[in-house]
Symmetry: C2
Subunit: 355 residues, 2 copies
């Protein structure tokens, strides 16, 4: 049996997108085992132009061929619409958008437009971007359902460590009562430094030098990143239909040091915790500095470790901890979502031949 060819359109081609491409080659045995052959049909970027080939691009030559001015601040939706039309004309049946653009954490754009254009053009969508799931989960998942397409986003919250897939694939029938998590590496690193007496500015500068914090670290320090992740988790698990703008939000500053040092002196830890409880419109979703007992699984997280505790019936409280972060893990999240799609596509192709 010939493998199922899956045409990928990559929107964004930064560190994560490029690592995803090399990971596909390294994961060739896993892909072959389920009978799929992903092909990169198109790549579009904000600053380096776009390339497209319905029959597939040579992965090693993509970077060299990206020479144009790019979409800039504009949406790449027109490129996506056009590329998908050309794939349909070429009778390429399995089409997937891989979305890794930079997020505007106050709007979720341009990623939301990209997802919408892909679903309208008959593509499944996988994204490592928290924008679409944090700002527009209900609408996009409805659109995906109507189009008979998938909308997957494992990398949005904890890189490649299974969070959404954990619940969806391995916990059938459970009810989720709430969640708590330490989900932002920059604030966690800075809080640990503050406890040890390091000045706030020094700790932030050290994170920037290490490449963990952005040049403008305010989105992390002010709790925006954690709020976007809280909204994403609440939208999927608590049916909250919210956005990061509606999340009760606290951040950290130089003034936090005294609280962190005081907590530590009493054997406790001050952590920036993203949490959600309740269901639907009544869900209580927040990012707040919380003092944790030393035996709390979230208390011992140092440096870049992240963790999410999900409270379920009937499994009680389960914690997933990511000890090692980084962009390679985010690239893996895209791969895991592609494998999920590929397995569903196998089922779909059986379905179709039954009709």
């Amino acid at each position: 049996v010939a493998p199922l060819r899956i045409a990928l359109i990559l929107v964004g081609f930064g560190h994560v997108g490029r690592r995803f491409v090399t990971l596909l080659q390294e994961m060739q045995p896993a892909l072959a085992a389920i009978g799929v052959e992903p092909v990169i049909a198109g790549v579009t970027t904000a600053r380096h132009g776009s390339v497209f080939s319905a029959t597939g691009l040579d992965p090693a030559r993509i970077a060299d061929r990206l020479t144009g001015p790019g979409a800039g601040q504009a949406s790449s939706a027109p490129f996506i619409t056009d590329a998908l039309a050309r794939l349909r004309q070429a009778d390429v049946e399995a089409r997937v958008l891989v979305e890794t653009t930079t997020l505007d954490v106050r709007t979720g754009q341009p990623a939301i437009d990209h997802v919408r254009a892909a679903l309208a053009g008959g593509a499944d969508v996988i994204t490592a971007n928290k924008g679409p799931v944090a700002f527009a989960y209900r609408g996009l998942s409805d659109e995906a359902r109507r189009a008979g397409r998938a909308f997957l986003f494992e990398g949005a919250v904890m890189d490649g460590v299974p969070v959404f897939n954990l619940v969806r694939e391995t916990m059938p029938g459970v009810a989720i009562r709430g969640f708590r998590g330490v989900v932002n590496s920059t604030t966690n690193f800075v809080l640990t430094a503050l406890e040890q007496g390091e000045p706030f500015g020094d700790a932030v500068a050290r994170m920037q030098e290490a490449g963990v914090a952005e040049a403008d670290p305010s989105l992390d320090l002010d709790g925006w990143d954690a709020a976007a992740k809280a909204a994403a988790l609440a939208n999927v698990w608590l049916d909250a239909d919210t956005t990061p703008l509606a999340v009760a939000r606290e951040g950290i500053s130089a003034a936090t040091a005294a609280r962190a040092i005081d907590a530590r002196a009493r054997g406790r830890r001050l952590k920036l915790v993203a949490s959600g409880t309740g269901q639907g419109p009544e869900a209580d979703i927040r990012v707040a500095l919380v003092e944790l007992a030393s035996d709390d699984p979230l208390a011992m997280l140092d440096g870049q470790a992240n963790a999410i505790e999900v409270d379920t019936w009937p499994l009680g409280r389960i914690v997933v901890t990511q000890r090692d972060g980084g962009l390679e893990k985010t690239a893996y999240a895209l791969f895991a979502d592609l494998m999920t799609l590929a397995q569903r596509a196998g089922i779909r192709s059986i379905d179709r031949s039954l009709q």
Copy 2:
């Protein structure tokens, strides 16, 4: 479309088996959503006899109908073979063994015989028993593959918290370099008590009163339970083809108290850690008292909390922590495995109609 009826044969009908039966009723919506209808066709026990009906038993009346002397120490394999033959004669296509018998931790029996009889009789197997996977994983999984049947055992190591399913269903293509875990509640509880100065015998008695430790707690205290779980994890993840008898094993005793207190005084924790590294016959699998730094995710586990850290490429180290244990969670593990089977059965029935 009529739901797919799945006939279940329950071997063992203790706390876990009975909770599994009520859980099936509570999970009716999840079962209906994927179009399956499990029916309990047979139950066999060691001390209370057996019942069978190819058309299904009334769940509420099973306990009343179990009045015989039971299989005692003997295998229930003859009952399984006979029950499956009668289901085949009645043209019941989907047949599943649900195995929850008491384990002989030094042999893995009688569960291994039960699994083998079920596979030979054309049934899929789900078990909460660590015996088959700890002692005979390679042989049983080969038999299952040849028979075109599944052999699932999510509940064997950490109750219902996804461990095997986590890796199989949500981490496609990863390579596992090793694992470490605190997987035995009795020893973990006693170690915590010893650190606080409680005498060994008092702590053990308290666990027995709470129903966590067995009347004969030596299998826990001597590390046998942890060794069986280490062997199970190593067989599945490291292709170790080992048994608990071959696991380097340490336990806890009154003499452990001084070490536990000394570690705690230095801000560290003494834990009984099950671990495995390497691959195949060279895998190093052990249960040992290990002194952990306070920021180790395994160090903060108190009381009945369990956790397993799996070291993977490319996701690095991921920890899954179970904060709340208990038999309801083990019953859920059986349910989760049944859902996995049911989804595969759906695919199989599509396959069959294509032939």
